[in-house]
Symmetry: C2
Subunit: 498 residues, 2 copies
Amino acid sequence: MFVFNSLICSGISTNRHQRKQNRYVSSAPPRGQYSVLCDQDLNLFESIVGQKNCQTSDLDPYNTDWLKAYKGSSKCILFPTCDQQVSAILKHCYSRNIAVVPQSGNTSLVGGSVPVYDEVILSIRKLNQHFAFDPYSGILECDAGMIMEDVDNRLATYGFMMPYDLGSRGSCLIGGNVSTGVGGVRHLRFGSLHNRIVGLNVVLADEKGSIVKFGSKIRKDNTNLHIHQIFVGSEGQLGIITRIIMAVVPRPNSIQVTMIGANSPNSCLEILRAAQNELCEILSAVELMDHESMICLEENENLKNVLKTHSPFNIIIETMGSDEEHDKEKIEKFMCKIIDEGLAVDGVQAADKKEATYIWKLRKTLPLAPLHDGFVFKHDISLPLKHFFVLSDIIKQRLGSLAKRVITFGHMADGDCHVNVSAKQYSPEINAKLYPFLCEWVVEHGGSISAEHGIGQERRPYKNIGKGYEIKMAEHIKRIFDPRYILSPYKMIYNENV
Amino acid sequence: MFVFNSLICSGISTNRHQRKQNRYVSSAPPRGQYSVLCDQDLNLFESIVGQKNCQTSDLDPYNTDWLKAYKGSSKCILFPTCDQQVSAILKHCYSRNIAVVPQSGNTSLVGGSVPVYDEVILSIRKLNQHFAFDPYSGILECDAGMIMEDVDNRLATYGFMMPYDLGSRGSCLIGGNVSTGVGGVRHLRFGSLHNRIVGLNVVLADEKGSIVKFGSKIRKDNTNLHIHQIFVGSEGQLGIITRIIMAVVPRPNSIQVTMIGANSPNSCLEILRAAQNELCEILSAVELMDHESMICLEENENLKNVLKTHSPFNIIIETMGSDEEHDKEKIEKFMCKIIDEGLAVDGVQAADKKEATYIWKLRKTLPLAPLHDGFVFKHDISLPLKHFFVLSDIIKQRLGSLAKRVITFGHMADGDCHVNVSAKQYSPEINAKLYPFLCEWVVEHGGSISAEHGIGQERRPYKNIGKGYEIKMAEHIKRIFDPRYILSPYKMIYNENV
């Protein structure tokens, strides 16, 4: 019989994260034939957004990405406050052939939100006034520059919440979430943003700086192509998203978090299957962390596992439901089943919110923890589950003692596998052993080299592996929306001949 | 205190539905400058698909839509059995400028699946061999020509099910479901097809008859524009979908169905809100039927309401969960709340599957029931909930005694409102009073003139109301995929100048 232990909350790290990531060796294409910004351009920008919102100094925070891996050399960041200003900016950039990089919360993990060369940075941060919510339909309409956590907090007052969650919730902006097609830890329960976004206001980088409303404010509308869907996950290649209309979800009364230890990949898969069957409608997340991940958390962040058995695999199961008693009964039944069947070695359930937060802290700190080693080769890979556990061993074997550590964690239920390889510093030897081998292996095995993080700068060299005609189609689509290819050059869709 | 009555199953109609719908007065654009089929074309088609699969006689069932409202005059239907055959057909049609209408299960309610003039009919019915399912990831891969119900039955053997359901489940094909972006009664719970479709195999009507794989077989892939999303709801305008990769859902152990009577629109909205809060994660459908709908069911189908109070509004609440006892407790609590607060007049819960099926039979028969009156002006409108109940009264007032009846039913939780106006026969007077007034009113009030059924032939004259630049963008997108505009002409996207 499984015993519901009380969780011992100890060793919560108070270290601030020192971001030590070095710069990647750049592999960007040469600068395109875009115009260089001149005084007349800056004067015009100032006339559009005002002096305060046209910044030409202290640009380091905007030129540098969150991981400090990439740095551009933009001379100007603009903070428009309405669609009309965005339109006027893009119209001018189109006419002068000036390259533009849209910037949301600048939390990209693949260098997607910073300029590669001297692109003008168009920040959506000050598009943050409009918020409207209908508690009957659950439809939210808000400006793209709002911070995800702020929107979630406002929805909480209506008993609703955002249908996704992610580590950067306190600084990422809704517009960037949509542009990058964010998944996060609750994708399993509430689905992708394609399920949630019903309409978008977008400004295009065309001759007129067209302001276009795609979709509608209702859940179902089959009167045109669902064009707004093509903007979800488009990484700023097609236009500037200025307003979002999305269906959010009722906030559950009961959130339960459990950590489970397992001995083998097969046990992990069977635990996942059992969770889908037994917890079914209340299941909201299934996250995996291997033993090396837990060691990394302890060594680098002084965060101890809540399980004492040191199993090879640790699984976080989160449930969300409307009745705490019912949910706890379901979890008890589920735990009995997986312990009785020998799938789980042990497990602890968080007794309260503090303990639940601690378990999630383990998972949410993992993307940062290996950074203390010096340099991290980060990956955000999606794989069919039969290959999910294989990759880590292959990499370990391939790198031998070159790497300080190889840790694997991720959204197991989505096949999303974050294999992180750390070393004292950037190592060309590791780099050569990893790439393109790793990307080719993933694609050969039916996976994606970027499940969530996108292409940005980091994955651009490998983005076409295994792809065919769909790359050409993406270029054709881009040309419709961004005829001069001035938005986010050198990244997801780029043609050096433009 | 609410009492859980046992349901009296009586009066189940055994009448076969006599489809009496007359033909709409055609408002199609003139025939385009497409080539007329000649013997050489037919010979080539025969050489591609074989004599048996190139049919040139007995075409009435394929030229005529399900409602018998539209009839085309195609001289040929083709039944390709693989991608390569579809490709060869489209390549030839492209080179000869022959118009093609893709046909799936031919269950369109807006004349979308039949030719308008002499387009070649390309049936996907025989693309029905491949079925593969991974019970860990929940990813289904199947050919587009499979019947939705058959796929659902095969998934049942793995403990999974299709994430949508609709009346035509026994005859509609998966490919058509995707092409029309089907919603159905469980949209509330499992989301739109945009949430489910992760990849599509598509054949394009271009110079090469390109066979393209969009998306992938995994849940998360952010390595390119999510192009497959633009095919969901595209009504065959962009290409022929030949294979579908989608994430399906675990089959619940417990399905509960309840019918509730309510007195006012406001009560209905509050019941909806209470259901979202109290039933939350187990809620799978909230359907509305007004009193006139119930009278129509009784008069035309001999189907009696399970409620005895004859309330102005009847609401079906369906739940799906993993624990019957828990679900019933939640429903009891919910029913107590809405009865105590005076929101509901009464309610009955189905005691077993037979009773549940009967309640659903009421709802699923409603689209057919008014057809017995003679002629039905059918609508599939989506509205913000504050306007949901207003439309019916406006129409009644506008038509006075011209209509035999005006009934309102639909997927209330999605704002999806089927207002059906019946008369003894097609009436130009009713037509003139309804259109374009109704369409303009809907758009003015933030709604959609076609929530699910699509544009097809029926809504084509009104499809641009309230729309701007997004129509032009749709034309541009079509041209990328179908450069000569030979797919499904005269419907959702059409340009007479092509």
